[in-house]
Symmetry: C2
Subunit: 146 residues, 2 copies
DNA sequence: TGACAAGTTTAGCGTAGGCTAAGTTTGCGT
DNA sequence: ACGCAAACTTAGCCTACGCTAAACTTGTCA
């Protein structure tokens, strides 16, 4: 393949300065900010160890991920300190949470068992477009009336 | 943290010998075998360049992924040769395809537009448990009758 | 107050999946 | 029969996300 055809299919100029790049990394960011928001709400504070337990990974992994999220302007914390969300992190968290709730409620409404709904919602939520989310919302609202 | 508490939360003994490990890697495998099956069916043959076009990645990425999938016993090919599926790859492809079709048909049935349904189905399909899939199937079947 | 445990970070490694640049193979057309 | 373009691979780099081992911080309590 001669040069021009092998070149990148997607323009990534300036990619290094974006908030979150790859889709997998974006999902991780969403999961983290959502979890941090929930932990702060529930326990008043969020520490790395809480996230490690939640995601079933080591604290090392959490530490590295948090430092990436901080450099992306989503979370804020000082070394050895508690974790909080930036404004942009909080915004992302609230979107993520709303979407999560809708997907979960939707799965319940179509008769999926609670445990499976919990698991599948985690996986599905990151892949639901606004249009599909709206359709889910409508169905969940109709629960039982159909 | 003292030794025993920091150790792995999940038993990964023998992990190195499993077919597909991480969930991300499993998704990639499913996408590839599904695409390979479809290409062979549609054009009679499948080449790396076809997959590169389809997934919008370079042929280099395709080449490396294929070699991993071959080492995992899902695809079969010789250097510079056409790509085929092993029995186990074909089995995975047919499961993946069935699931993809159900998810897509389901999204259409709840009123999601064709293009969005296509995109979301790609993302969602890997995260749908058998139970949820069955619920989707039921709803898609009821299309229009409710 | 000072030792210890819990929490956190750093160092270093591995896999998966991206990329570019550069080299190899193949097959087709003149 | 041979040259060239397309297809493919190799080499080398990067990020994300896992891990263990080891070092560092912090707060608590005897």
């Amino acid at each position: 393949m001669s040069k021009s055809t092998q070149k990148s299919k997607i323009d990534r100029t300036g990619d290094r300065f974006e908030l979150t790049r790859g889709s997998h990394a974006r999902e991780t960011a969403e999961d983290y900010v959502e979890a941090i928001a929930r932990l702060i709400e529930e326990k008043g504070t969020c520490r790395g160890v809480d996230l490690a337990k939640l995601f079933q990974v080591t604290q090392v992994t959490v530490s590295k991920t948090l430092s990436r999220l901080q450099s992306e302007g989503l979370v804020d914390y000082e070394p050895y300190g508690p974790i909080s969300l930036t404004k942009s992190g909080a915004t992302m968290a609230s979107y993520a949470r709303e979407r999560h709730e809708v997907v979960l409620e939707f799965l319940r409404s179509i008769g999926v068992s609670e445990e499976i709904a919990q698991v599948d919602a985690e996986g599905i939520e990151h892949h639901v477009s606004p249009e599909t989310l709206e359709a889910f919302r409508t169905i969940a609202r109709r629960k039982g009336t159909c």
